[in-house]
Subunit: 592 residues, 2 copies
């Protein structure tokens, strides 16, 4: 059975030595001293490795079942959920006025990585709740906040997001679910929603569905969409549970992975719903949830890769097979551990350098969210808006690829379910699909985010890379191994952006044909930047002679690997982008 | 439920217009006129789409079960197997003296692609049998051939390959299965083998296991290994079945995919085995099976991608979502089919250009095998030996990647089992692992095949590419879109080979660290060459004004896509290779 050890030391390095959080000048960050964050991460790490990780294969094997209309979660999930409630983990980064602990989003992200690595399917029950809470806090009335949020923060109730219908996924404008105004100001919601994660279960008293539906008078397309709160059980004025709302589980889908989470078909049969936010402005409210969810999904991508890497590494150290070509390393054994073989190392270094770069990137993104929300920093808001599709799309594509690479280290055993690597791969696969399939992320990036605010955020990004290079080019070691490759990759990204500007106006397909490659190109530059920043921080610690020298030297060597062996992908993506629309659009649909 | 349509027209194009088989001057090819091969392919295509494809999800859902020591195959498998027997499909390319039809290996490959696309797990029962037959024909005594081969050709009996043990996979030298000589000249085989595909089942009267084991006196490592025929039921002198041999199924593994094929733990408890080939030279005999099996696995990689692509394409034409950014294409519908979106096309073109290139590459490889075996052509033998790890490693990596890309077209539905895309992905995953994990293929390519015969095969390959370019550079259209990119990619491959020569002698890790990238680089050059050849053939047909112009124009456009958007990967692989061993080998195992 696979195991999980929380990478608290790596996280502390990113938080304190790379992002320098306690000096970041962000309200609420002043208390984030290393001792404090270490205590939080250690406690979360224990829950992750001791409570959640052992349940991961159980969830995969048993899955969820529908009994008399109620979803039953796998053995042990309910008890673990109670522990999550008692530990107050869901409220870690939620406002104190609703029962949360009020820590920054960044801390929630770090803890979230651990929980997702340990048990992605389980963590989704509270992950969806977290997104729903954010939407209610941002768009709900005072009464809605008071009624729903505290119970959701405590996980007595959980939340869901209801967007997709059988014929309407990415294209929400064609949805059919109706909201009919009622005399009491509520709405009667009727329709079918699919792919509803954590749609129902037996671990909470109530499920609060946030549902997109069309109320009369909104017009065609997404303009007619509003957002509604539809509780499984109606809530009485005193906060107690009232009548069962006519919302029911049609079935649980049989999926490739995340079996421990119930993905439900939800039927709304005139269910009572309460408008949240403005009428016919539901998409705006939904995006509050979506943006947070997209960063959370990017995190899922690399968090699955992290746990898969950990296990692949242990296997590579244990499994004896063949001999080191330069001389036996384990002469008394039947063979050497496979980690001696260059191609196994190549594979492990691909994994390690991606995961650590992805973590730094995601934590940086979380810090930008805190900067935007807590310090009202508009530049940070623009940057994270720009990078959200990159975090979601790039980290889930590479996260899945990395998980597959980790599975490969096991040889035939990787394909056998009992070793656990198959589950990591099957679970990681969904992250490329949900919350906007990665092609949609690429479209969002190139079709919307690049041009947002007249291109201000993307210019700020390039400026930041340029400044970092300029500030540090006196450092010879950093210059050759980190700054020069970063500069070259960043130039590729700029050239791609230039290609879009020059060609996309007269032919949008010239830009959109390269959108997916642009998303990957951008991701590589971001990870390159993070590795340069990590190498700088590690070198500073080595120069100061403080701490664990081997740890810092390993960081630098891992970064060098990324720069030398991953960053060259930017040229390939640029070449694909610059080949333009013609190769992509050449065929009539009938001739494929 | 997914469907499958045999791509007979594409196959005919490769066979007759690209490989010009009936004029190839290979013994047995003279009868391969278009009408004849078309009749064979049409008949095979019917079996594939009507008999095998509908059973594919059944096999996945039901899997195999072990009842009282006997493996039960999924519902319908037995009846389909009877149809395979009646059709004589297994003997298509096997010698007439043993009941086969004596057609070239190339024809077996074309038919095999169809069967694998339709139902990979099912086809393995006969695929393994085919490999075992080849080994017995190549290394068995006359008596062994007479006793076993005809019954295996007819599929009354099936075959298996037994190599792996729990602690010995790639490193067969450390295997423990023993062969004790008996007074009657047979051996008593004792030990446990794992991952035995088609290890047992209820569709044939007997299972003929080919088993690697150590007989006394052979010394350490692979030198001590011999190959044995171990029938499930002993065979009497008159050919009837005798006593049950003490070989039994320990369990069926729970796997990520290919559930329809029983992957067995086989226990040999003093089972009677007959030496095949020379004592202590078992590895040589095993490689007869392995090389054929590796090409068959490469075929699995792209054959799964083919069926996944077919279904993704249909979905992309049917699914209405969003509008063409340049103007609605389906104004009367709620939305346009998603094939209008550039990123969906990018994805589909990646799939299409890979699959068609891979088919041409594999068919060319099969033709080289025929040339080697039927015409005794040593250069062909050298070339196919060099390219076998490329066919296996590159086509299964890219085949899986392509299958995942096809699954992505379905959005959320791709993750739901009932749509079938998950099965294609899960089934395709194994091809990267078995018959030598792809890292081992890369090692074989760089550590063994490059230097084979003093580098003669690889020089012949480069010479062939060079000649093709030279012969055709007067053709302006071919030159710009095909020959120039091919030349550039081929130069990258040569530069990589040069890097290995200059650095690998003093440090083998400098070559081995780049082995995986070299395998991919080589694969891209091979597919680039095949696309250039296909474009030339298609242009010739267009110039002649014969046939279906849209078909040929589509071929050229698809080839252009591959050259413009896939071939740039060669530069990335070269950069990774030229970064050398240092980034890969920098860390001590303890510091990972």
């Amino acid at each position: 059975m696979p195991s999980y050890t929380a990478p608290a030391k790596d996280m502390q390095f990113v938080l304190h030595e790379v992002l320098n959080i306690s000096d970041a000048g962000i309200p609420g960050y002043e208390d984030l001293e290393p001792d404090f964050t270490s205590a939080v991460l250690d406690e979360a790490g224990k829950v992750a490795s001791e409570v959640l990780a052992p349940l991961n294969p159980v969830g995969d094997t048993e899955g969820c079942t529908l009994e008399n209309g109620v979803v039953r979660t796998p053995t042990g999930f309910k008890a673990a959920f109670e522990q999550m409630k008692e530990g107050g983990w869901n409220g870690l980064d939620l406002p104190e006025e609703f029962g949360g602990q009020g820590l920054p989003y960044l801390m929630g992200t770090a803890v979230g990585e651990m929980f997702v690595s340990a048990n992605m399917a389980f963590n989704m029950y509270q992950g969806l709740t977290h997104g729903a809470i954010s939407a209610i806090i941002a768009h709900g009335t005072e009464d809605q906040k008071t009624t729903f949020v505290p119970k959701m923060v405590s996980l007595d109730w959980t939340g869901t997001m209801n967007l997709t219908e059988p014929h309407a996924g990415t294209d929400l404008g064609i949805m059919r679910t109706k909201a009919e105004p009622q005399a009491d100001g509520s709405y009667a919601i009727t329709g079918q929603k699919i792919f509803i994660s954590a749609g129902d279960h037996d671990m909470a008293e109530n499920v609060i569905h946030l549902v997109l539906a069309k109320a009369p008078g909104g017009g065609e397309g997404t303009k007619g969409i509003s957002l509604f709160i539809v509780p499984k059980f109606l809530v009485n004025a005193d906060g107690s549970l009232g009548a069962r709302n006519p919302v029911s589980v049609g079935k649980i889908e049989e999926k490739m992975g995340i079996h421990g989470n119930a993905t439900c078909v939800m039927n709304y049969d005139g269910a009572t719903g309460y408008l949240i936010g403005e009428l016919h402005k539901g998409m705006r409210a939904m995006f509050t949830m979506m943006n947070e969810a997209r960063i959370g999904v990017g995190l899922q991508g690399y968090a699955q890769a992290e746990v898969a890497y950990q296990n692949a590494l242990e296997y590579a150290k244990d499994r004896l097979q063949g001999r080191d070509v330069t001389g036996a390393k384990n002469p008394d054994g039947a063979a050497d551990p496979i980690i001696v073989h260059p191609d196994v190392r190549r594979n492990l270094m691909d994994q390690k350098s991606f995961v650590e770069g992805a973590r730094a990137f995601t934590f940086w993104g979380a810090q930008l969210i805190d900067r935007a929300h807590r310090a009202g920093d508009a530049e940070a808001e623009g940057l994270i808006s720009l990078m959200t599709p990159v975090i979601k799309g790039f980290l889930t594509d590479k996260g899945f690829e990395t998980t597959i690479a980790a599975q490969q280290v096991y040889g035939g055993h990787g394909y056998i379910e009992e070793w656990g690597m198959s589950q990591f791969a099957r679970d990681a696969r969904i992250a490329m699909i949900y919350e906007g399939a990665n092609g949609v992320q690429a479209l969002d990036l190139v079709g919307r985010k690049l041009a947002a605010e007249g291109g201000k955020p993307v210019m700020a990004f390039f400026e930041m890379v340029k400044s970092f290079i300029k500030e540090n080019e006196g450092d010879e070691a950093l210059k050759k191994d980190f700054l020069e490759p970063l500069k070259s990759a960043s130039k590729d990204l700029q050239a791609a952006g230039m290609y879009f500007m020059q060609n996309g106006m007269k032919n949008p397909n010239a830009a959109l044909s390269g959108s997916y490659d642009f998303m990957h190109l951008f991701g590589h530059v971001c990870l390159g930047l993070m590795w340069a920043r990590m190498a700088k921080a590690a070198q500073a610690a080595l120069d100061a002679g403080t701490g664990d020298a081997a740890f810092y030297e390993t960081k630098i060597a891992t970064g060098r690997y990324y720069m030398a062996r991953q960053l060259p992908a930017t040229k390939m993506h640029l070449a694909r982008i610059e080949s333009g629309a013609d190769p992509v659009m050449a065929l009539d649909a009938a001739n494929f």
